[in-house]
Amino acid sequence: MILRNKRFSIISLLLFLLCSCILSICVGAIEIPLKNLVKILGNQLFNLQADSYPKQQEAVLLAIRAPRVLLGALIGATLSMAGCAVQGMFRNPLAEPGLIGVSSGASLFAVTFIVLGNTVFHTVTLVFGYYALSIAAFTGAFLTTWLLYRFAVTRGRVDISSLLLMGIAINALAIALTGLLTYVATDEQLRNITFWSLGSLGGANWKTLTVMLPFALACMIGLLPMGKALNAIALGEAQAEHLGINIKRVNKYIVVFAALGVGASVAMAGVIGFLALLVPHLLRISVSADHKFLLPASGLFGAGLLVLADLIARTVAIPAELPIGILTAFMGVPMFIMIILRSRKERRFL
């Protein structure tokens, strides 16, 4: 019964992801009817030579929509899986990369890199090329997560208040330093920085997609086998150790892979808040807290949800685009408040 329930959820989430992708590809300033989408895909993938659609639709699909939807799915999946793993590691649904400052740490490093990139880090840029920005953001995400872990975890016990307070401090510091950097930034850099604070998939193209892909895959493939360990950790860190789980090693592993994913996502699309809080927790309370299910399900659900959010972000005020962070915040904040209210009742999380 339970097993079927989980399998059923995974299949539904797969369908949800597929539908959001198709919807998001077809709808926009230039509509692509479903039958044309099928023809274009047939042409591209199997060389079918069907030829009864406007060339403009093909161009929009290939150059704009497809990479954007794929990037959205990839970032949504990565952020949600990273969020799921970090929540599991800290045993608290409030431990979301955005709230506890991991995304800010990544964006701080990314912004610093953009502004000072050419003068200070030009050897880094030379060596890593397009990957340099992602690597800078990853370094930021990694250092923040590590710092949080050092401060908020004492003798295996997570102090969630210090975790969240540290998050506030890091977020404030990131805002302040980003503000400071805007004074030395050029106009073009300035536009990039604004884009960072609320997130957008507007920069998506095949190039950004190929940069994102290895980081996203590393994060997802790295985190997927952690289900068993995270389940054991849910019983308590001591109990997990008695079950043969090496907590220190697991935590280090999760910190590295989650930071890798969050860092690359921030580098590609800026700070997209609340998605990583909303997705895993919704699945946790509605289906199961089994992380062997929760990790892949979060990935699917997060991917679908971010693709949909991006569809709304770019169609609700055509020709202008809303930053996607606004939409994820609208979805995530009610959930955040709900968690706080529930935990006040149970006196468990704070």
Partner: protein
């Protein structure tokens, strides 16, 4: 088999465990008693490798504890935690299956599932297997936890079971269910070490009792030998009367005013 010699552990300059030695044999249940702050939990944490002793040696089944990894230990040594409420959206079966985690990599095989079911059956919780753990009472949850521990060391002749006040906060019936199961496991050949607060429960269930006070070993032996009125007065500063009942087969300790 647990053999500990010359164990020392201190926090800052305070000795928490001081020169403690004892051994627990397979087939026996060892109860550790003593006043609050006597170092009972610390001693158990030293044995379960959560803490590292400053000096002294611990042998588990003839092997030095320091040479055993957490993974090695988890295959034959289980630890039942104090009863604390689990609020996780997992089923009873999923919780009990975690006992098999040290035995499979990512997917449980048939025998893991079989053993989990059997462990739940032995604890009378099989009927609850699809229920969510947070819907159960504290006593039912602790039975599921014991089923998990049972699954972990199921029919392992070298199994070792450590319990830290496993019956705290449970009612009379659940106290008896949990401790009765622990003694049966000992009778099947397991080595069982259990911290207890209640001297009478220790007298009722333990084969051996280790008495600690301020980190030091005060006495060790069978309940009848160890639990004298004088020893309890010097350990707990409470006057008691010891009643020996032939029919019961174990002494009863009653405080007197």
């Amino acid at each position: 088999m647990i053999e500990a010699t010359g164990l020392h552990f201190k926090i800052g300059s305070r000795n928490i465990v001081e020169n403690v030695h004892f051994s627990a044999k397979p087939g026996e249940m060892l109860a550790v008693i003593g006043p609050n702050g006597a170092g009972k939990t610390t001693l158990l944490k030293l044995i379960s490798k959560q803490l590292r002793a400053e000096s002294g040696e611990i042998q588990i089944n003839g092997k030095n504890l320091a040479d055993l990894t957490l993974e090695d230990l988890a295959k034959f040594r289980a630890v039942l935690p104090q009863s604390n409420y689990l609020n996780i959206n997992l089923t009873v079966f999923e919780i009990a299956l975690m006992g098999r985690y040290p035995h499979f990599k990512s997917k449980p095989n048939e025998s893991d599932l079989e053993i989990t079911s059997e462990a739940l059956r032995e604890m009378g919780m099989y009927g609850f297997k699809d229920r969510l753990i947070h819907q159960l009472s504290g006593g039912e949850q602790q039975r599921v936890q014991l089923a998990r521990i049972l699954a972990q060391i199921y029919q392992n002749p070298n199994g070792i079971l450590l319990m830290d006040e496993p019956i705290n906060g449970l009612d009379l019936q659940y106290q008896q269910i949990i401790l009765d199961k622990a003694r049966k496991l000992a009778k099947q050949g397991l080595t069982v070490m259990c911290i207890l607060h209640d001297i009478n429960l220790a007298a009722q269930y333990a084969d051996q009792i280790l008495v600690l006070k301020q980190g030091k070993r005060i006495a060790m032996g069978s309940p009848e030998e160890v639990l004298s009125e004088d020893l309890i007065f010097s350990t707990y500063h409470t006057r008691v009367k010891k009643i020996s009942d032939q029919q019961l087969g174990y002494p009863i300790i009653v405080p007197i005013t």
